[in-house]
Symmetry: C2
Subunit: 80 residues, 2 copies
């Protein structure tokens, strides 16, 4: 049974992606640079930032380690 | 290509699961009760709490809404 993505879920993914982009740019990293640090694919970084991915816990941790922050910071507005 | 779960990932999932259980118990909820609030399966709640699941962003939000907290609280120790 394929579940449809709800509007709320789409909005949450967009918010998460925008926050990831903000934190990446704060650190002067390109998508390529973040992908390299997190050992993930550059196209995947772009998809997450555009809110196109229902990212997993493992990858949330990969991004937070690559950015040198706590995963909580990815859910908390404001400079880190 | 099936990726092996690393020890670090296993440990992160366990930590997340233990934090979810702590917050659930703080609110006097059973696994059944949390599952009902989050509109998820009770067995899934148990698996996440035992660190057996690489939970997705959508379900992290479902749990935080059901617990009345921010997703960041699921990554931050201490009472909420």
């Amino acid at each position: 049974m394929v579940q449809r993505t709800t509007d709320l879920e789409r909005q949450q993914r967009k918010e998460f992606g925008a926050r990831l982009r903000e934190l990446r740019k704060e650190r002067g990293l390109s998508q390529e640079g973040l992908a390299h640090e997190a050992e993930l694919d550059r196209s995947y970084v772009g998809q997450v930032e555009r809110g196109e991915r229902n990212i997993s816990l493992d990858n949330i941790y990969r991004f937070s380690r690559a950015l040198g922050i706590s995963p909580a910071d990815l859910f908390t507005p404001g400079p880190r």
